[in-house]
Subunit: 415 residues, 2 copies
């Protein structure tokens, strides 16, 4: 189905940080926008790990895209899957039929990479969607339930949790799982002691948080270890199955493995012409367009972009939002015949990373915060960036309640 | 696995209202209790329809049984499925092995009844568990999404919602679905008008809310019709498939059918010896025990019980809770050699039913409330009966927010 009008048609694929900002930047432009997403929600991915570890409900980190955009009358939202792209005919193929475009923005993000072993995903799920998060929550909570009724000899593997990948997601997951075991579940079992659970964070490289400063990586490692996480750096995973993981240095028996390593552009990026980097990301020009296709843009984790100084853009929300905003303005300018904008200039505000309760590290210009103050800053910043008053209040209350009681409010196993 | 001790072993099957009260009434008794449930949560079933209609998150109406009981040291909770019962050998069979008991309490509840057509369940799901609720939520929201991209001719069936059964669940569901369509979704689509959705409530009997007063049934019908629900009484459903329902009076094309009719005791009730009524409920004695098996009790919707005046107990939460409490006390008395209690005397406090925003009907002794005042009373009573401060605050805030904005906070489609 294709709405026809005299106004240029902009198709934006993906309602994450980059896509949503592109749509919003076009709010007053004389265009018709179609936003395509396979889910009906915009996801605040930085807090997804809190859904996976029973701290927040799915609805607290996700908003219906339709509702977010209900007042922007030049956009229609379609919940469907984009399956292909013809950059010459200017058509996006979807499960709901083809949509031709005058401008297209690919903002489909990335998935974790299993380094050529797609089979590992079944036993070591990654964390990208709400369904992933509730699935991981179910696996983690079920492991404790199974351990409670299991035979003595089967308990150690049931109470071992391996998180693969020492980036922000891996660090946050490890910190949250150890809190779950030590605090929230500690008194609730009769046959097992959840405090005895082993949590391992396995990283192939020499240190945690490789994309951030060495100081931040060291702080994370120190804090995680103080809390009881076993941090294994320089440890490459070479095998992964239902009973555990194999690394260069040995075998770890574990019934629960969570994958937070690598990055691989979403499948639609492969349909975009031109050069791709090893992770499948599209190499884009300084205005985020695909070389040779001035009306086709890629933003966010699907793009391998350099900023105006030649540095690669980091794979974080602010970079995707700024690039989406820039591309929206670029299209608006072109439609109204204005001269092109100067190349995209990314503005880096700072780095945040959290390990859990009372522990985060903040680098913001000259500002350096760690510990409780860092954690308060981290919490405030994340509440601020949530969409909508209702979600800000709900998340702030849930965090306050968790902080006071050391409980987790969403300990549900739903199949 | 079987813990052994000198103290009598009480096995309670089902952590709903009846089972949980039985466990709590035994808190100070010199017994060891095993509470078996196939889920890890206690569910506040009266608000489950609000999860199915995107008003509340699953975690707001459910609490981990372990956490609810973490301070009661004489109980252990097992998440497993009870598959059978040997009342002579006094053994409960479960997926985690057999558990022998000195006293057993069957509190496994009931499901909806498809009147001998189990095949209808696939296309017309009922509402008993959290998974049912998120499944119905997904179906309802997806129907609007599909209608938005569908061809004109396919839209009417996608925008038709049939709710079968005019009891409290059916009335609440119909009221909530019509609010979702008229208020929360009204501005969010571009090709369809959600306000044009047809919502039908189909009841085989002559009136709504047959278990409550005629006046309450009439109020519900009047209010639902004023809000745009088509109420069809005296309309027996004779067929049900993926494209709609067939009734005695004709065919209704609808892609979404929700089942809220009939009642059928859960399968474990069939393993209990003695007489059963037509719905499979166990006929119990005046002390809720199974005739001939003084140490085996059935409470809640799995029992066909009469109170001390000979009236059947209603299938509502207060009746289950009172019976569970009574059975707990009975077992505690027997263990300590006290004389038996007098037969169970049910105390009926009153009737509540809601149709939606600003509309509920309350009969509480001499008190008669309807409309906004009735709805406020209904809301307050339900918040009061939730477990835990955190959930009370969260639900009250969500309701206040929904009342002010006419929005629904949990419009997520998760597969």
């Amino acid at each position: 189905m294709q709405a026809r009008s005299a106004r240029p048609h902009v198709v934006v694929i993906g309602g994450g940080f980059g896509g949503l900002e592109a749509v919003r930047a076009l709010a007053k432009a004389p265009v018709d926008i179609t936003l395509i997403d396979q889910h009906n929600y915009h996801l605040f991915q930085p807090l997804l790990y809190q859904v996976a570890t029973a701290a927040l409900s799915p609805a607290e980190v996700a908003w219906p895209l339709r509702h977010v955009l209900s007042r922007q009358k030049n956009v229609r939202v379609l919940m469907t899957r984009a399956t292909g792209l013809d950059p010459v005919k200017r058509v996006v193929k979807t499960d709901a039929g083809p949509y031709s475009y005058d401008f297209a923005v690919v903002a489909t993000g990335a998935n974790h990479s299993y380094f050529g072993h797609p089979g590992w995903e079944a036993t070591a799920p990654g964390l990208k969607t709400l369904a992933d998060a509730t699935d991981i929550r179910r696996r983690v909570l079920t492991a404790f339930e199974r351990a409670e009724t299991a035979k003595e000899k089967d308990r150690p593997a049931l109470l071992t949790f391996v998180i693969v990948g020492g980036g922000p997601t891996g660090v946050e997951m490890a910190g949250a799982v150890v809190e779950l075991a030590r605090d929230a579940l500690s008194r609730d079992f009769r046959h097992i002691d959840p405090k005895a659970a082993r949590i391992l964070l396995v990283e192939a490289g020499p240190r945690l948080l490789p994309a951030l400063s060495a100081e931040m990586g060291a702080y994370s490692k120190r804090t995680l270890e103080k809390r009881g996480v076993e941090v294994l750096t320089d440890t490459l995973v070479t095998g992964c199955d239902a009973k555990g993981v194999t690394t260069r240095t040995g075998r770890i028996r574990a019934e629960t493995v969570i994958w937070a390593a690598g990055i691989e552009a979403s499948s639609l990026a492969a349909a975009v012409p031109g050069e791709h980097d090893r992770a499948g990301r599209v190499r884009v020009a300084g205005d985020m367009s695909v070389p040779g296709f001035a009306n086709l843009f890629v933003v966010g984790d699907a793009a391998a972009a350099l900023d105006h100084k030649g540095d690669p853009l980091p794979g974080i929300a602010p970079a995707a939002k700024q690039a989406g905003h820039y591309v929206g303005l670029t299209i608006a300018g072109r439609v109204s015949g204005k001269p092109s904008l100067s190349p995209f200039a990314y503005r880096h505000f700072g780095d945040l990373a959290t390990i859990g309760r009372d522990a985060a590290v903040v680098r913001l210009g000259p500002l350096r915060l760690t510990g409780f103050i860092g954690w308060l800053f981290w919490s405030g910043a994340h509440v601020y960036f949530l969409i909508g008053v209702r979600n800000r209040v709900a998340v702030a209350l849930d965090w306050a309640w968790s902080w006071l009681t050391r409980q987790r409010s969403v300990r549900l196993i739903i199949r």
